[in-house]
Symmetry: C2
Subunit: 230 residues, 2 copies
DNA sequence: CAACCTAATTTTGAATTCAAAATGCCCGCA
DNA sequence: TGCGGGCATTTTGAATTCAAAATTAGGTTG
């Protein structure tokens, strides 16, 4: 099945940053890169547009979606909700084997923290969150989480990790593991939400200043909108 | 833009029940029905497949997705989470105008209840939930909610509404309005979840018995799976 | 009579073609 | 020199074409 393959490969390019947010996607170029005709490529772009990774401009082609500070906030809010839900469900359904696997990942992650290996730390971090979602054993939730988390991750280069935040993150992860072991769904949900809120603030602080100038829906607009609503 | 139009129209057909779940979707037929070639139609089917309304079988065409009891449960769980999140955000962001509009809808809905007009009642009910999600003012959340709620609604014909449940639903809706007015996000989230859980049980009780025989992933399987996980 | 094998037909997946829209280029002109 | 208009080129959106796979039908044989 050619179509699904292409969706996956283009998504890869978008998430890896090989096609940076905001850049024009030339059909021609991707076609010859993949060695396929425009038909399946265009199908793939439509699907990715439905996922929110690509925006289609009528008669003007496709661009890699560039999250505004606003849409990034929206994504974080939803991601919090999804992770909280996953945490609750996981506490009800997680198997001992899954729990052990997460504990192992946690230990490995702490090791990377002590070794100051940020990349490996992030890898474990991600695997843990994925494992929790998987333990929730809900296919719909997994699918939505994957796309939302991917869209957030696509701008992860914005977030530098101050070392004091790193300590906090480790503490929070201990709480996560603890809540899982106690099967405390409510507690886990709370921790996951605040955990994500920390990351969100990091991205906000890192990213807001720099894309305020070019995005149409910038911070000033955002503030005005949300204040007007009150 | 032909493509988006076709996505919308086919989705309509699927949600209206004009193409019942599980039926084969003949490309040819839809093409002549819409008066378009296969290219944009196929693009539309790919998008709808990504949304979960259609399943694509390699070299064997498309079928209208038929939720199994399992996937329906998954959808309900996620919908609960999304509505709860929407409720929390809405309490923070809802404007007085939006609140008044919901109160008006609520009053209208009670009127339909007293007049025993089920169809109109459902209409208002849906509009209220949509309004709450809209008041949450989060585009990503709106999008996800729409698709998840649509997939649930696509099998709504399964759920008969016993009159005692109807009373409960009205009571719950009073609680919803009350929590919104008090801007009690936590409380609203709880009410929305239990509200949805009632509906979920209705659908389960109505639907489970009848599709157990044909679906591959039936109730027995479901129970076994989830029990095995403990 | 039933099971199976083969050939015709239909249907799918993808490439190619074609028309319309947008982009870019060049020239004239103030 | 700077600006605008018109033509050529490129790119997009959709139809058509073509090959491969599946389905169907029919015939053969045990």
């Amino acid at each position: 099945m050619l179509h699904a393959e292409i969706v996956a490969r283009v998504r890869e390019l978008l998430l890896e940053g090989a096609i940076p947010p905001g850049t024009r996607i030339a059909e021609r170029e991707l076609c010859e890169r993949f060695g396929v005709s425009r038909t399946p490529l265009r199908e793939a772009l439509k699907v990715l547009a439905a996922e929110g990774l690509v925006v289609l401009l009528p008669n003007r082609g496709a661009r890699a979606a560039k999250p505004t500070s606003r849409s990034l906030q929206d994504l974080f809010e939803v991601c919090e909700g999804l992770e909280a839900l996953a945490g609750e469900l996981a506490c009800r359904r997680i198997t001992d084997a899954e729990l052990r696997a997460i504990a192992a990942l946690h230990a490995e992650m702490v090791g990377h923290y002590k070794a100051d290996d940020l990349a490996q730390y992030f890898r474990c971090n991600r695997l843990i969150h994925d494992a929790i979602v998987r333990a929730a054993d809900n296919a719909v939730l997994s699918g939505l989480y994957e796309t939302v988390a991917a869209r957030i991750r696509s701008v992860r280069y914005l977030a530098p990790m101050p070392s004091d935040h790193w300590v906090i993150a480790i503490k929070e992860h201990e709480g996560i593991l603890n809540a899982l072991e106690r099967r405390d769904g409510q507690g886990l949900a709370l921790i996951l939400r605040s955990h994500l809120r920390v990351k969100r603030r990091q991205v906000e602080e890192a990213g807001l200043a720099e894309n305020a100038d070019e995005a149409g829906d910038d911070n000033v607009t955002l503030l005005r909108r949300r204040q007007n609503r009150a």
